[in-house]
């Protein structure tokens, strides 16, 4: 069998098997090198897969050559290709440029274990993205969750521990809910394979358990995705995790949960539950809108940079969900594109934050005052990424805002509300990003912002790569938009 045919498996196997090697290895630098190499390789594989998907369409890989539904199959189409790009890209970039920052925050003789956990988290997220089997999703969800708890708990101060515990409890409850849902579906269909479920649910005469299953799965995944009322774990986790870790998980972890949510709700349930589109819209849209409003509002008054960005993430998750809840092609395209673009923006922002944190005494807005003069490159990149978050034309953020608004305007009454909310939250975004930028450039330097110098060049370079990616995909949005449209087609094939 050719190497190309093995790519789907390798996507998971490479990071998954590098991790145990790291446990055997000693020495932080060696571990870092190995982990980075693995991530980069994973990214390369992801790119190759994306190209293949674009050329030949859906790729299927049977684990152990057992045909689905008896064995586990990996399925890769436009949607998860995009998700894979985000995950692996984020990991590769953050690891490449994050070494110094991590070494500063974590006890050196534990770094090897830390990198191992990081790789496992990466493999878990990628595993969720590629698999076509409902239970396998659970397994890899737990892999990624456990690993994520570890790398979050690595945070320097004690709040990291409590944040981790909260996340651990809520995450496990979410996963268990998902497991219950899968169990009920399995009970009624006798299969665990997405495609097979999709085919068989239609035949199920009594739909009650399926409805309940849909409820459990949606709630469980919403917990993982930090959808509005269930977002309480997110701010602390993002705030107290090591900065580089924040950049990594902010870019991808919630996205993956949303990906599964979309796949399950649209592919498995959409076509088979009567009035599902309506239910989906009427349950999720209000939550999305509330999330957007409240997230943005809190961010406006937040005084700590990371916390501010974390709450903005809550709002952004709302955007993605809102797009999906329209259950229209335009809507889902917008949602998925935003999934991608928000990853770009937040990744860049948190990387910049990490860069600031390496030189400044703290991350409250007061601490970063005037850093724009002492750390011009970092500050400029932060401003650029911020522009993307706000949605200034020419940046990636604008593309998704545009798509989202135009999708909303198709919707009629709900759409008008959505438009109003989106506009309001964009204004809020302007305000909270501006508060940051104003402090950076026009604030009078206090504390050690005066003496601060640029962080190691690798970090700055990484920040800039991420920031420029925002511009590039703002001007050439062909790739994400194309893949997302394909994804939307795939997800909506059940709609009349």
């Amino acid at each position: 069998m050719s190497l190309a045919a093995q790519l789907p498996a390798l996507q998971i196997v490479v990071p998954l098997l590098t991790a145990p090697v790291l446990v055997l290895l000693r020495g932080a630098n060696l571990a870092w090198a190995a982990a980075t190499a693995a991530s980069v390789m994973a990214f390369v594989i992801a790119v190759a897969l994306t190209l293949e998907v674009q050329s030949v369409g859906v790729i299927v890989y049977e684990m152990g050559a057992w045909p689905a539904p008896f064995g586990i199959e990996l399925r890769i189409d436009g949607l998860n290709a995009l998700v894979l790009l985000v995950i692996t890209g984020a990991s590769a970039l953050t690891l490449l440029c994050g070494r110094a920052s991590l070494a500063g925050e974590i006890d050196p003789d534990r770094l090897a274990l830390f990198y191992a956990a990081w790789l496992i988290a990466l493999a878990g997220l990628a595993g969720i993205a590629v698999t076509g089997d409902a239970f396998n999703v659970f397994v890899f969800m737990e892999i990624s969750s456990l690993a994520t708890y570890i790398i979050i708990a690595a945070g320097p101060n004690r709040q990291a521990l409590t944040a981790t515990f909260k996340y651990l409890i809520m995450g496990t409850v979410g996963a268990t809910f998902y497991l219950i849902g899968v169990g009920l579906v399995y009970m009624m269909t006798g299969t665990l394979n997405f495609a097979d479920m999709e085919a068989r649910i239609g035949e199920v005469t009594d739909q009650r358990p399926i409805l309940v299953a849909a409820g459990f799965i949606t709630v469980g995944l919403a917990l993982k995705a930090a959808v509005f009322p269930l977002h309480v774990w997110l701010p602390n986790a993002y705030t107290h995790a090591p900065h580089i870790v924040t950049a990594f998980i902010a870019a991808c972890s919630t996205k993956v949960a949303i990906y599964v949510l979309l796949r399950f709700d649209f592919v498995v349930f959409q076509g088979n539950l009567t009035g599902h589109a309506f239910q989906f819209a009427s349950f999720l849209a209000p939550l999305a809108l509330l999330g957007i409003l409240i997230g943005s509002a809190v961010a406006m008054f937040e005084g700590h940079l990371k916390r501010l960005l974390a709450y903005s993430s809550v709002a952004q998750v709302g955007y993605i969900l809102l797009g999906a809840s329209f259950a229209s092609k335009a809507g889902i395209t917008a949602g998925v594109v935003h999934m991608f673009n928000h990853a770009l923006a937040k990744g860049a922002l948190f990387l910049a934050v990490a860069a600031l944190a390496m030189r400044l005494s703290g991350l409250r807005l007061a601490d970063i005052a005037g850093a724009g003069r002492t750390m011009p490159w970092t500050a400029a990149a932060l401003a650029l990424a911020g522009a993307s978050l706000v949605g200034i034309p020419g940046t990636a953020g604008f593309i998704s805002k545009w798509l989202l608004l135009s999708a909303a305007l198709e919707q009629g009454p709900l759409g008008i509300v959505a438009v109003v909310v989106i506009v309001l939250s964009s204004l809020a975004a302007v305000i909270y990003m501006w508060r940051v930028i104003e402090r950076l450039y026009f604030g009078t330097p206090a504390g050690n912002a005066l003496s601060a110098s640029e962080p190691p060049w690798m970090l700055v370079a990484g920040v800039w790569v991420a920031a420029l990616a925002n511009v590039y995909f703002g001007l050439m949005p062909g790739l994400p938009v194309g893949l997302s449209e394909a994804a939307a087609e795939e997800l909506l094939r059940h709609l009349p």
Binding site: V13, A19, P20, V23, G64, I150, T191
Partner: protein, 327 residues
Amino acid sequence: MTVFFGIFLLTLLLIIAVGIVRAQNLFTAVMLTGIFSLIMAANFFVLDAADVALTEAAVGAGISTVLLLGALALTPSQEQDVRGGRILALFVVTVTTAVVVYATFEKPRLGDPQAPVHTHVAPWYLEKTPELIDIPNVVTAVLGAYRAYDTLGEVIVVLTAGIGVLFLLGLPGAVGRRKADDLSSGRMHLNHHLVPQVVGRLLVPFILLFALYVQFHGEYGPGGGFQAGAIFAAGLILFALIEGEREAYTILSPRLLMVLMGSGALLYGGVGVANMLLGGNFLEYSVLASDPVKGQQWGIIAIELGVGITVASVLLAIYHAFAARGL
């Protein structure tokens, strides 16, 4: 008859569960958890799930109790009484339950042979296994072959837990500043108590032997890597309890434990990669031997071994991490 026996067990479960939640003293709660797991295991056995019963007994009743006690030795064992938050909690919980019960009324009845579960995928396993893999225990076949990818994930989960605990608590002699030999061999063991020590010394070899039996008998009867690993770990933990950490380190040094943790998972993954190199898919054991069936069997044996090694070493390492923290 079995139905009523089942109902009896289940009712007992409920009572114990409530007891666990209500108990103010955490030691009591932990002990009740152990009993809970045992009864759950018995219940699984009644429901024809021998492997699961064995695992639940070994992991749930054995290891997790030990870990909980290890944690309790380091934290206060008295729960403060709750203030507020009850109403909301009760509300949420009641809603959830109501939803579940609502769902039950259209579920297939217990043991209904016509349930989709029994008509769709499972029959294929039951009838194909003899010809494709040719081992009696279909559970092991599914676990080790058809859904081996899940099982790999499972091993990684265990490994991750190990990594996590070692990362958080450190492991003298392997992770963290502390050396193995600054563990005073005082307190957390019983070697000034003659009776337990003698009996323990007597039992340990048998336990380890039994572990090996479970490990390699997995293809034929209930058992396999996980159960074996758990039992093996239990045996060594007992040894550590009666002889003290230092002694335990002399047989399995922490560094060696870490190596084993990694290499078990690597063994598992290595089999899969080998399959790739031999031109098959990942974890397609058939290519291991000229006769695909033989290949499957070798593959299963190999990966079960990997599972056993990782599980045992991880559980042991976790125990050591907790124990050493106390000294």
